[in-house]
C-alpha cells in the first residue's frame, strides 16, 4: 500500500473532519484483534482528537497502514470474518480520507 497525505488538505474550521476520523478510528479499534493493534488504533484516535487539523493527513495514512496490516494478518490466519470487518474499515478510511482531501487519489 502506498498512501500519502494530500498537500491540498485545507483548513478553515474543519473540526468535523477530526470528528469523523475519530469515529472511523473507533471502528478500527473495534476491528483490532491484538492488544498491540488496539493500542495503536487508540493512539491514532487520540491523535485525531488532539493534534492540529493539519495532522489528520498523516493520522489517516498511519491508520490505513494499520488497517492494511490487520487485513494481511487475518488473511494469513485464514480468519475471514475478521478480514471482512477490517477490509470494510479500510475502505471507509480510504474513502473518507480521499473525499476529505486528507489523502491523494491518483
Amino acid at each position: 500500500m502506498a498512501a500519502r497525505a494530500s498537500g491540498l488538505a485545507m483548513e478553515m474550521t474543519r473540526q468535523y473532519l477530526a470528528g469523523e476520523l475519530s469515529v472511523l478510528l473507533a471502528h478500527l479499534q473495534a476491528a483490532a484483534n491484538t492488544e498491540a493493534a488496539w493500542r495503536d488504533a487508540w493512539s491514532l484516535r487520540h491523535a485525531a482528537e488532539t493534534e492540529p487539523i493539519s495532522a489528520l493527513g498523516w493520522v489517516t495514512v498511519r491508520a490505513l497502514a494499520l488497517a492494511d496490516d490487520l487485513c494481511w494478518d487475518s488473511l494469513n490466519r485464514g480468519d475471514t470474518a475478521a478480514f471482512t470487518c477490517q477490509a470494510a474499515v479500510c475502505d471507509e478510511l480510504r474513502e473518507f480520507g480521499v473525499c476529505a482531501g486528507l489523502l491523494d487519489e491518483a
Binding site: 488538505a9 493534534e51 489523502l103
Partner: protein, 708 residues
C-alpha cells in the same frame, strides 16, 4: 486491500503562485431570478446600511430580529479590547427567542423534524408548542432535580437527536452554559472538556444509530468521568436520555446515585413551566471546544445577545430562511455549524429545521435526496467533504428524486470548482443559489460569503466579507496585500462583529495572544481599528473583492517563496517503513530564506544509518518535490515531547538553528534534549554548517515554531 497510488497533480502544489493558479479565476454565475424574487435581501441598499460608515449600529438590524426583555444602551463596548461586548445593557433569553415566541404565534408549526437513520423508523415532527413543552419540562429537571443554576456549565455528549436541541434550549432557558462535545468523540476527549469547563453534570444518551448499527454511547460516559477525574474534576450526575422508549441500549450499568434516566426524571415534571431567565446580552450562552489542541483544550465562549443576533441575521440574509421554509443542514450539532445553523439561527427565525441522525450514505447515496423529497426540504446545507463523498458514490442519484432546493450552502473548507459545479447542476438541478461560506468555530457565524440574491456566485471563491464584516489580507509585516495582486497572505477581520467569541474559557491571555497580538497596533488602544482579528487562514483576494481561502498559515516553512506544510513533509517521511515519528523544522538560510531539516525516530529494531537518512530524503523528494528536500535528516533516539505526546517542534527547531531551546523542564523526556542538541550541533560544526546568528524576529519565529 487498500490501494492508493502515488500522488500526481494538484496535491503536490506548494507555492502561493501555484495555489493561486490551481483554482483559476472562474466565471460568475448569477442567482436564478425565481430565487431573487423571493429573497430576504434583494435590495442593494442593504450594502449601504452595513457599510463601515454605519458600523457598529448596522447590527441593530440583526438584534431587532430578537425579542429583548430590556433594550441595550451601547451597541459595542470597546473599553476592554479585544474583549468586545455587544448590545450592552440589553437582556434576553435565547430559549424564549427560539421557542416561546413562535409557540405563541404559530403553535402547530413544525419546529424540528427528526429523521432517524433507520428508514423503517418514522420521522418525528415536533411542533413549536411541543418543543416548548419538552424544553420547559427538561429545564425543570435541570433546575429542580439536578440543581443547576445560572452560570453553571454542563457538558453534553449527545448524538444527532432532537433531545440534543431540547437539552441546549433547556440550558439556555436557565442561563446554564452548555458545552456539547461531538457525539462521535471518545469518552476521553469528552472528559478533558468536562475538566476544562468545570462541569459537574454530564448529559448523554444510551445509544444511537450509525451505519445501521446501534452504538453503545453510554459506555463513553464512564471513560469521560474517569478522564475528568484524573484532571481533578468530579462529576456528580450523569443524565441519560434513552434512544428508544423503555429500552436501554448500553451494556454499561447505570451507577447508583450518579446515573439517572432522563425519562424517569421527566415523569416528576410533567407539565412544568420554567420562566426563562433574562440574561445580559454578554452572558455566555455556550462553550464550543475546538479540537487540534494538545495542550489545554480551547473552549470558545459564545455570548447570548451578540451571538444569537448574528446567527439570526446571517440565517435570514445568507441562508435566506423564511418561516415557511424547510431547512436542512446536514452537519452535526456537535460543531459550531450545527449550533448556529441547525439550532439557534433557524429556530430564532421560526422555521422548520431538520435533524438527521445518521450518515449521509446509509443505506445508500440516495438517502439525502429521499429525505429532501419526502420532507419538501428547500434549503440544503452541507460540507464539501460530504458533497465529494456523495458525488463519488452516486453521482447520478439526485436526479432520481423530485425535490427542489432554492438555496444551498457549503461550509467548512474550500470547495473545488468542479465539485461546486456538480453540487450546482446535479444536486441543485441548476435551480438554487449557492453560498460558499468561510468562517470558524470562533466566529459564531459566516465571515465570508456572497449575499445570494445580490452577488453572483463564483465557484472556488467564498465571496467578499459578509455584511458588516470587513476582511483584509496582511503579509507577515502587517502590510496590506491588495486585491487583485495575486499574492496570498493572512486573512484578518478589521472589525469586531456580534458573533465573535468572547474569549477562551479560563484563558484570557491565550485568547489575546492567539487571535489579536499578531497585528495589534497598540496594546493600550481602545479603538477597535487597532485590533484586527487574526483568523489563521491564508487567502488571496481577487480584484472583484472575492476571497479564496487557501488553508492554515501556521506550520508552514517558506523555502524560496514556496510554502511547504510541515505535515506534508512529515507524512512523506512517515511513508518510510522504518520511521516511527517525524518532525520537520525550518532553518534560517541566507539564500533561500528557510530550508527544511527533518528529525526522525525509528521503530524498535532498526538502527540509524546514512542509507536510512537518504531514504527519508528521497521519500520527501519523490512525494513533494525537490524544493522540500531536507538539508539534513537527523535520526534521533526519541523526539522531545510534551506529556500528552506532542512533538515539541520549537525545541528541535531551536537546536537546528543553534538558538536557546527555552524551558524544557515540563517535557515528558527533558533528558533527550541535551542528547539531541549535542549530536546535531556537533555534526553541523563538523560539516561547517552552522547558521548565522538569528535576528530578533527570526529568533521569535523559531521559538514559536510548531504552535502551542
Amino acid at each position: 486491500m487498500t490501494e492508493i497510488k502515488q500522488p500526481q497533480g494538484p496535491g503536490v502544489q506548494t507555492s502561493e503562485a501555484q495555489i493561486a493558479v490551481h483554482w483559476r479565476e472562474e466565471e460568475y454565475i448569477p442567482p436564478p431570478p425565481k430565487f431573487v424574487e423571493q429573497a430576504n435581501a434583494k435590495d442593494p441598499a442593504i450594502f449601504d446600511r452595513f457599510s463601515e460608515e454605519h458600523f457598529p449600529d448596522c447590527f441593530k438590524e440583526y438584534a431587532d430580529l430578537l425579542v429583548w426583555d430590556e433594550p441595550w444602551h451601547t451597541t459595542l463596548d470597546t473599553s476592554k479590547p479585544p474583549f468586545w461586548k455587544w448590545f450592552v445593557g440589553g437582556k434576553l433569553n435565547a430559549s424564549y427567542n427560539c421557542v416561546d415566541r413562535h409557540a405563541e404565534a404559530t403553535p402547530d408549526k413544525t419546529a424540528i423534524v427528526f429523521v432517524p437513520e433507520l428508514e423503517s423508523d418514522e420521522h418525528e415532527k415536533i411542533s413549536y408548542s411541543e418543543l416548548q413543552r419538552r424544553v420547559n419540562e427538561f429545564a425543570a429537571v435541570l433546575r429542580d432535580s439536578v440543581g443547576l443554576k445560572t452560570g453553571d456549565r454542563v457538558t453534553l455528549h449527545m448524538p444527532m437527536v432532537p433531545e440534543l436541541a431540547v437539552t441546549m434550549l433547556a440550558c439556555a432557558r436557565l442561563g446554564v452554559i452548555h458545552s456539547q462535545v461531538f457525539g462521535g468523540f471518545s469518552g476521553i476527549a469528552c472528559g478533558h472538556r468536562i475538566a476544562d469547563s468545570g462541569s459537574r453534570v454530564l448529559i448523554t444518551m444510551d445509544g444511537y444509530y450509525r451505519s445501521g448499527q446501534m452504538q453503545d454511547h453510554k459506555a463513553k460516559a464512564d471513560e469521560a468521568l474517569e478522564a475528568a477525574r484524573q484532571e481533578g474534576q468530579e462529576v456528580d450526575k450523569v443524565l441519560v436520555w434513552r434512544r428508544r422508549d423503555g429500552q436501554y441500549a448500553s451494556k454499561t450499568p447505570m451507577a447508583d446515585g450518579r446515573d439517572f434516566f432522563v425519562d424517569e426524571l421527566l415523569s416528576e415534571h410533567r407539565g412544568a413551566t420554567v420562566e426563562p431567565v433574562s440574561m445580559p446580552a454578554e452572558a455566555p450562552l455556550f462553550l464550543m471546544y475546538t479540537s487540534g489542541t494538545t495542550g489545554r483544550p480551547k473552549g470558545c465562549v459564545h455570548s447570548t445577545g451578540g451571538y444569537l443576533a448574528y446567527v439570526a441575521g446571517t440565517s435570514k440574509y445568507y441562508q435566506d430562511i423564511h418561516p415557511d421554509d424547510v431547512y436542512w443542514c446536514m452537519a452535526d450539532i456537535g460543531w459550531i455549524t450545527g449550533h448556529s445553523y441547525i439550532v439557534y439561527g433557524p429556530l430564532a427565525l421560526g422555521t422548520t429545521t431538520v435533524i438527521y441522525e445518521g450518515v449521509p450514505n446509509y443505506p445508500d447515496g440516495g438517502r439525502p435526496w429521499r429525505i429532501a423529497e419526502t420532507l419538501g426540504v428547500n434549503i440544503f446545507h452541507t460540507s464539501p467533504t460530504a458533497i465529494r463523498m456523495l458525488r463519488k458514490v452516486s453521482p447520478e442519484e439526485p436526479k432520481k428524486y423530485d425535490y427542489h432546493f432554492k438555496h444551498m450552502t457549503t461550509v467548512g473548507e474550500p470547495i473545488e470548482p468542479e465539485v461546486w459545479r456538480w453540487y450546482h447542476s446535479e444536486v441543485g438541478k441548476g435551480e438554487a443559489a449557492i453560498v460558499d461560506t468561510w468562517w470558524q468555530t470562533e466566529n459564531g457565524g459566516f465571515l465570508g460569503s456572497t449575499l445570494p440574491a445580490l452577488q453572483p456566485m463564483k465557484p472556488g471563491s467564498c465571496g467578499p466579507g459578509v455584511l458588516g464584516v470587513y476582511p483584509v489580507i496582511y503579509d507577515e509585516d502587517a502590510n496590506e496585500v491588495s486585491a487583485g495582486s495575486g499574492k496570498a497572505g493572512n486573512i484578518c477581520i478589521r472589525n469586531p462583529w456580534p458573533g465573535i467569541f468572547q474569549g477562551i474559557w479560563g484563558q484570557p491571555d491565550r485568547f489575546v495572544a492567539t487571535y489579536y497580538r499578531k497585528y495589534n497596533k497598540d496594546p493600550d488602544s481602545t479603538d477597535w481599528h487597532d485590533w484586527p482579528y487574526f483568523a489563521g487562514d491564508g487567502a488571496v483576494q481577487a480584484a472583484d473583492g472575492y476571497f479564496r481561502i487557501l488553508g492554515r498559515v501556521d506550520d508552514v516553512i517558506n523555502v524560496a517563496g514556496h510554502r511547504l506544510g510541515t505535515k506534508e513533509i512529515e507524512s512523506a517521511a512517515l511513508t518510510v517503513p522504518e520511521v516511527a515519528e517525524a518532525g520537520a523544522v525550518p532553518v534560517i538560510d541566507d539564500i533561500r530564506g528557510r530550508v527544511v531539516e527533518v528529525y526522525v525516530s525509528l521503530k524498535p529494531g532498526f538502527e540509524p544509518s546514512e542509507a536510512l537518512e537518504q531514504k527519508v530524503s528521497a521519500a520527501i523528494d519523490t512525494q513533494i518535490g525537490k524544493i522540500a528536500r531536507p538539508k539534513n535528516v537527523w535520526i534521533v533516539p526519541d523526539m522531545p515531547k510534551t506529556r500528552s505526546g506532542k512533538i515539541m517542534r520549537r525545541v528541535i527547531a531551536s537546536i537546528s538553528n543553534f538558538a536557546d531551546v527555552g524551558d524544557v523542564t515540563t517535557l515528558a523526556n527533558p533528558e533527550i534534549v541535551e542528547s539531541i542538541r549535542h549530536y546535531v550541533q556537533s555534526s553541523k560544526v563538523a560539516k561547517d554548517d552552522v547558521p548565522r546568528e538569528l535576528s530578533e524576529t527570526e529568533f521569535e519565529e523559531i521559538k514559536k515554531f510548531g504552535g502551542e
